[in-house]
Amino acid sequence: MSRVAYSVAAALGALAAMIGISGLLGDTWVVTVPWAVPLGGLQLSMDRLAGFFVALIGFATIPVSLYAIGYAGDDRRGALPYVGFVIAMCAVPLAANVMTFAVAWELMALASYLLVVQKATNGTATHPGAPAADGSESHDASPHAGGRHAHDAAEATGAAWTYAVMAHAGFVCLLAGMLLLSAWSGSTRFADWRDTELTPLARDAVFVLLALGFASKAGVIPLHVWLPLAHPAAPSHVSALMSGVMIKLGVYGLFRVSLEWIGPAPAWWGVAILVAGTISAVVGVLYALVEHDLKRLLAFHSIENVGIILIGLGAGVLFLESGLGTLAVLGIAAALYHTANHAAFKGLLFLGAGAVVRSTGTRNMEVMGGLVKRMPWTAAMFLLGAVAISALPPLNGFVSEWLTFQALLQSLQVPHTGIGLVFVGGMAGLALTGGLAMACFVKAFGVTFLALPRSEAARSAVEAPGWMRLGMALLAFACVALGLGPTIVVPVLGLVAGDLTGEVTPLWFGDWLRLDVPGDFASLSTFAIAIALLVAGIVPLVVLRARGLTRRRVYETWGCGRLLQTSRMQYTATAFASPFRRIFDFLYQPAHALHVEAHPESRFFVDAIRYVHETRAVAEDWLYHPLSQALHDVTERIRGVQSGSTNVYLVYILAALVLMLVLG
């Protein structure tokens, strides 16, 4: 039954991919079903941007659904919401009026809520042969099963609750912005908004509302709080879709808002997007660095990558405002490319993390290790994804970050000094992000997969079944293809960006081998680089073999004279991240506590040591906590209105009626 549902989802994904590709290549159509929803009817329309996102959702859904067949097995929970989730996501970019959009957006939020809350409803493991249904936050090697599930359930409930609140706060912003626009333009159809004359103030107000709403879905800091809670709580295939494509629909909205609905954008929108992107990128990866829950780490990286996408978009908006259309296309195409790339490698990494979690029964990296020998397939796939997300050549993450860098570096053509400095900030932030992401994935892969296993669960881990490996392999292939084939992908994205900016000149030069960015800029051929790396790596190997220099001895690791080598002697994830915690302590606000229990006779005989090291989330402490406290206080005051007496309520209704008659 659930296998059928996931197969259906995969088929839907294939269909969406085909429809999306045709839209991406220039096919446009409109479907209207007047009776389906009130206020304007169900209306779907296809253009290049919508096509891009539908294709993205489709291509991501296929491997993830195949993986789910192996991952969820016969577990029926979540299968139907999953299919609904996929359909709702496909409908969002196609929605052509406010009502259709609202329904699709809410359906998407609702379905994903159900998937996140799934583990809270039923706490028993259902996988034969697997230690637990999915990740659990256990910090010792052999957790007590009952306690773990209770903890799991509590965690899922809390995460789902935060998610629901944030999703609806965002939705309120979106609805307010859209209704204002509808009232001012006299139409609920998105296509009519473009030609509406608005005062600058009105446009700014609408931009702020819509941008807040979309940015909260995209997980832009400081609206990200739900993301690192909800993504890890969901089953891994759902996490892959949520991180890979659902948050991209927030990005989709930002594209529409800043470039199409109420464009052309003034400079400060571009600055706001670029700065928000830079902050999200740097802070997102810094939080990921100190995170030792494998899936939460990946969730923080989603925040980082959305930041990188917004850097490209912000650069595009600023170039457009400065009248540099060609460069605007460059920035926007870079943002779109990174959107696609992130779906591929983040999907892959979440699926890999899911395989690890399924096999070890924990998400805590500190008890993993040595999995490369026990799960060689998963390890290889995860390593490929790690290389891709760290933007290392020649894989796909590198190509889109390279394009983003090109866009930023071209700011030397922007005459305005202040805006030039914003670009410089973006450049420095992006470079720092690249380095930190590399560091973080050394930790994520090195601690999880390499060296000695740190627990019994890790020691007895087994490789993922075939369906799961197939899903991962497909996404790994996508990472390689998007990395080696920018000469095919970029011109198509240039068309999408051209549609959005109104720039129609042919923009992309180069041949099948080499990507040339227009003007005197730079060129890149990842294909040539991949071949060169391969040759340069194989030549010394062959030369050494040919000369017979192949002697190798396997021996124990040098241990300074220690006799016993155990897993407790290797570096932990906490230790690995320690330099970063010290360097960036202004962000983490770390709190240390060291309790040493000494023997009563002598303080040199230590009975027990407990060391607590916590980092704090600045956004939660300084923004959300005061906000929710204030909200709580206000509601506490208003509570007096609710007396519980029917007579009083009748008076309220009467008063409201009178008030409306007077005002109306």
């Binding site: 020998k373 420095a428 060169a532 570096y571």
Partner: protein, 314 residues
């Protein structure tokens, strides 16, 4: 096409051949500066030869990542040598991905080396890896900004374009902003290649070591490849410094004679930079590990000032 490949190969070979000499020459200069005779500058070649012939000892905890890393590292440096303007201003366009590509190729090397450090389950390896990635991450923004300052002055972001423009108009380089960017890049070079005051290349067993701790488990031909690659990284950084900040003597033409001239000019500039490096290394003490971020922040400030200076005067 064939032509491009030949130039790329020539550059890679030149860097690979020169790298041990650069290291040996710097060591010799350092020895002389502190009053020792020091080994011959050709000593690193003999070391490599000896290491290649030796047996490799691999930890029983290590996986294929540990065994593949030396080759990855070596390949990365060879390819980077083909991208950087070494002998000619404009290397083959198929390889020219400009500065960003060079930066990320180095990061690819660091990524695998740091994984190899973790792979043997040794505390030393993990310590080295953790520190190495921290320093290399913090150095990235400075690299990009200091080269961006040059790009702003020469009006192009292409490394080859910068070299040509500055070579044609030396007055562009006679500028305080240029010097600031040079200083920033020099500090980054010290950090990225594990030189004093960030890391001590001469010591093996200190708890403060970074690079040497990470590669502690390597031996035999693996160690030879890792050491050779490290020497190439140093040489490439020095070449970048030499050709970007002192871009004279680099031919625009692609004839063999012109490239030989470029090689001579490069050797002279590398010798001058090696002297500067030796002077710096003998006159400063090693910094405490957690003072290094301050040094890097200082270099970032230099680069930012350099960019700001260009913005202000244009």
């Amino acid at each position: 096409m064939i032509h491009d490949l030949l130039i790329a190969a020539a550059q890679a070979l030149a860097i690979a051949a020169l790298a041990p000499l650069v290291v040996g020459f710097t060591r010799r200069l350092k020895a002389r500066l502190v009053g020792r005779r020091g080994p011959s500058p050709w000593q690193p070649y003999a070391d490599l030869r000896k290491l290649f012939a030796k047996e490799v000892v691999v930890s029983e905890n290590a996986s294929w990542v540990f065994r593949a890393t030396p080759y990855v590292l070596f390949a990365v440096m060879l390819v980077a040598a083909a991208v950087v303007p070494v002998l000619v201003a404009r290397p083959a366009p198929a390889f020219a991905g400009n500065l960003i590509l060079v930066m990320y190729l180095f990061l690819l090397g660091t990524f695998f080396l740091a994984l190899a450090g973790l792979d043997t389950a040794s505390a030393f390896g993990g310590m080295g890896s953790s520190r190495e990635v921290a320093i290399s991450a913090l150095a990235e923004p400075t690299v990009i900004l200091s080269v961006f300052a040059l790009a702003l002055r020469s009006g192009t972001i292409d490394l080859g374009g910068i070299v040509e423009r500055l070579g044609a108009e030396p007055r562009l380089a006679a500028n305080p902003a240029h010097l600031l960017a040079f200083g920033a890049f020099f500090i980054v070079m010290l950090a990225e290649t594990g030189r004093l005051p960030v890391d001590n290349p001469a010591t093996h067993l200190e708890l403060t070591m970074i690079h040497e701790a990470m590669v502690l488990e390597y031996s035999g031909r693996y160690l030879a490849l890792v050491e050779w690659a490290s020497a190439m990284k140093l040489t490439l950084f020095m070449t970048l410094l030499a050709n970007l900040f002192l871009p004279w003597g680099l031919p625009g033409g692609l004839t063999v004679a012109a490239m030989a001239g470029g090689l001579v000019a490069l050797v002279v500039k590398l010798a001058a930079l090696a002297l500067l490096l030796a002077l710096v290394e003998t006159s400063v003490a090693k910094l405490r590990l957690f003072r290094v971020p301050e040094l890097l922040a200082g270099s970032f400030a230099l680069a930012l000032l350099s960019v700001a200076a260009v913005f202000l005067v244009r």
